[in-house]
Amino acid sequence: MDKAGARREEILERLEAEGGVTPESVARIALETGVPEADVWGAGRFYSLIREPGRRVRVCTGLSCRLAGATHRIEELERSGEPREEVSCIGQCDRAPAALDPDLELIPGTGTASSVLPDDPALPVNLGGADPAGYEALAKAQAAGPESVLGIIEASGLQGRGGAGFPAHVKWRAVAGQAERSRYVVCNADEGEPGTFKDREIMERRPHLLLEGLAVAAATIAASEIIIYIRGEFRDAKRSLETALKEAAGHLEPFDIRFANGHGAYICGEETALLESLEGKRGMPRLKPPFPTENGFRGKPTLIHNVETAACVPFIIHHGGERFRDLGRTGAGTKLYCVSGHVNRPGVYELPLGVALDELVETAGGYTGSPMAFSPGGASSGFLPMSLRGLPLDFRSLDREGSMLGSAGVVVLNDTVDLVAAADWQTRFFDDESCGQCAPCRIGARFLRNACGRFRTDGDPDALLHVEDVGWEMEEGSICGLGMVAAKPLTSAMKHFPDAFRRQR
């Protein structure tokens, strides 16, 4: 139990500043903050960047980087004897095979540079456009008043872009309607879903757009504090936002805006794990209900939005909800699709929500080689066969196929790929990133990892016995979305590509 007045929210930042978890650093921080030693220790040991700090190259082992030769790169480093660590996807799939240098700065792959569409003011996010610090939408929203803004957001049909596609206006109204007056806006900039790198591009190219969207939300729900929880590995994005915040100063006066760093835990992208992390705890998701709109940061009503969701807001305020809604095809608005893997120009493309794969890939310069499978929404969406290439890439259609649009991290795999290996990489990712709180996910993810690994080495399909049962239980019994989808890569691959899982040798 904390001492009265303990400053728990500081401990993770302090641990990182002190160079990681050691008995000495923990004892000192515990003494200075009033948080029990064991709690500081246990929290610190949860986060990769605090648990395993140190100067070495961190090589991405995400699917797109694997496809681009990460395995080879790891072997090279191994031979050179340079200290290195294999890490989960670092959100640079368009620059694969990517790595981070010992200062966590990006070492891009040798391939193409990231690509976005050219400036087009008709696009709500418009990554290729200028990013002026005008804040006219904020002024307009403040003049219109909360009720009117809520109506506009509702009319826009804006759905959360963090993965679940939940209607934004429902959350805004839920927070606005709370009796409790102290409220928070939290921006989820912890982008970590393998195959996803759109939030990174928004923060680097359109930081003012994001800040403005968050400010509109805060003004509407009467929150004065905005916290941006930003992935620890995103050094460039954070610098960009910091600069923008200085430039914006006057416009954002009424809001207290601050950054919090991620410390190396994919699960902290899950909104309640993120809140725990903000409060200086292990990033273990909370039970829902209660939802953050009622019981969020510090137990207060909290509106949490993904970077892209917030970045859509200024356009909606400027041009009205209907205009945004009508930009979509099978869902409302445009969507930033991240395309990587076997395509010619990996990058982030803003297209109507509901575009199909072929059109998307055409925008990205076409397929390289002959496509065999694709993941429409990051690791969590599993693998789909090319026979489903005509599906609208939206929240509903993919859900119906047992997949998901998620964060729209689209990865294309051509027929040179060993699908069993691909399923194995993704399965390992979830096992590495499970918080370990609930048994279905903690044990299930390890079971799947072992099963898939064994099949990969022995080629004996008996290794895959019970995968379906375990996958079912993970989906049904887990606490959070990670466990619910962690079996998807393997079960979807087995379902759609049964030949790859027959007895080998």
């Binding site: 008995p23 246990g42 949860f46 648990r51 499970s434 375990v470």
Partner: protein, 356 residues
């Protein structure tokens, strides 16, 4: 919202009060739902997932231990879905647990609640997952042992240490399959804030957190005797575990049953060695003229004491006497002591050592 309402539990109308959980109502109605991470003294964690039930209108199964009742709520505690869930869930637990020859969870002496629950569920048989979960084999504290391969990570021990004892000596540490119960720097409990209350042992559902001194003595071979702790005047109730006529372990009665609500302190729980100690005084002794102590009968001893005290009173007056009783005496004994002082010898010089 109205305070009292009804919900249906497996089709039966049951009274409920807002703020209650499904498990609260089920417990009162005699509907049994398996639990592992639940301890009524702790905030629900909803982590073990054994208590999942179906709630009409909820897409996902919900933890009965944490899910709050609402007026008119319809809860189902048994269905094909729930049965499949339990079968696979217990299968996973078993794949992550030390098993005995029968393929069921091992017992290191203490009761392992997973054992009986898993047997009942027809747990799916899965290959062991070999999670890299470590313990603290170097911990030299004399009382508490942690067996990581019996741990199900229900976090009852850590939550107890935090929420009830307010000590926070132990913590969940690491992540994913490697998650375990740890301390700062993996140090032994004696080098932490641990007060050796042993509450973590009592709350642990599997015996992963267990007592070193009685390790391996099977719980079925222990007889249980309810008694009162004699270390202080609080009067905590204890369950003495007796094996071959010797007390080998002291446990707390379950929470909610006795004044100590499932808790004990280091003395009540672990300081029972005196019971069978060879130097324990078992009969009165009187020091003879030879300067040595000699065994005596109670009559002799009491007579000798009375004579001595009366002689002092006669020579120096009653206030030359003082009576001090031990903090280990019960309330009744303390009462008798002051009665002796005031009524029998006529002095108010009486005191109890725990009174200051």
């Amino acid at each position: 919202m109205s305070d009292r309402f009804t919900i249906t539990l497996d089709g039966r109308n049951c009274p409920a009060t807002s703020g209650e959980t499904v498990l609260d109502v089920a417990g009162r109605e005699g509907v049994s739902i398996p639990t592992l991470c639940h301890d009524p003294r702790l905030d629900p964690a909803g982590a073990c997932r054994t208590c999942l039930v179906e709630v009409a209108g909820e897409r996902r199964m919900q933890p009965a231990c944490a899910f709050r009742v609402r007026p008119g709520m319809e809860v189902t505690t048994g269905s094909e879905r729930i049965a499949r869930h339990r079968k696979v869930l217990y299968g996973l637990y078993l794949a992550d647990h030390r098993l005995d020859g029968s393929g069921l969870p091992s017992e290191n002496g203490s009761v392992n609640r997973l054992r009986e629950q898993a047997a009942r569920s027809g747990a799916l048989v899965l290959p062991p997952v070999n999670a890299p979960r470590s313990g603290r084999p170097g911990d030299s504290n004399p009382y508490i042992r942690f067996d990581p391969d019996l741990c199900i990570l229900c976090a009852r021990c850590t939550r107890y240490c935090d929420e009830v004892e307010a000590v926070s000596a132990i913590t969940l540490t690491e992540r994913g399959a490697a998650t375990t119960i740890g301390t700062i720097g993996d140090s032994g409990l004696l080098d932490t804030s641990c007060e050796l209350c042993g509450g973590c042992i009592d709350t642990c559902p599997t015996g992963a957190m267990t007592e070193k001194k009685s390790y391996g003595i099977r719980h079925e071979e222990m007889e249980q005797v309810r008694s009162t702790c004699n270390f202080c005047g609080v009067g905590c109730q204890v369950d003495l575990k007796v094996h071959n006529g010797r007390v080998v372990k002291v446990a707390s009665p379950p929470p909610g049953e006795t004044v100590n609500d499932g808790n004990l302190c280091v003395k009540g729980r672990f300081a029972y060695d005196f019971i069978h100690h060879e130097e324990r005084l078992r009969y009165p002794m009187i020091r003879g003229r030879d300067g040595e102590l000699h065994r005596a009968s109670w009559d002799e001893a009491i007579r000798k004491t009375t004579e001595g005290l009366l002689a002092v009173k006669e020579k120096h007056g009653a206030d030359a006497l003082g009576f001090v009783s031990s903090s280990r005496c019960t309330g009744e004994e303390n009462y008798l002591m002051q009665k002796l002082s005031r009524a029998a010898f006529g002095t108010n010089n009486c005191h109890q050592c725990a009174a200051t």
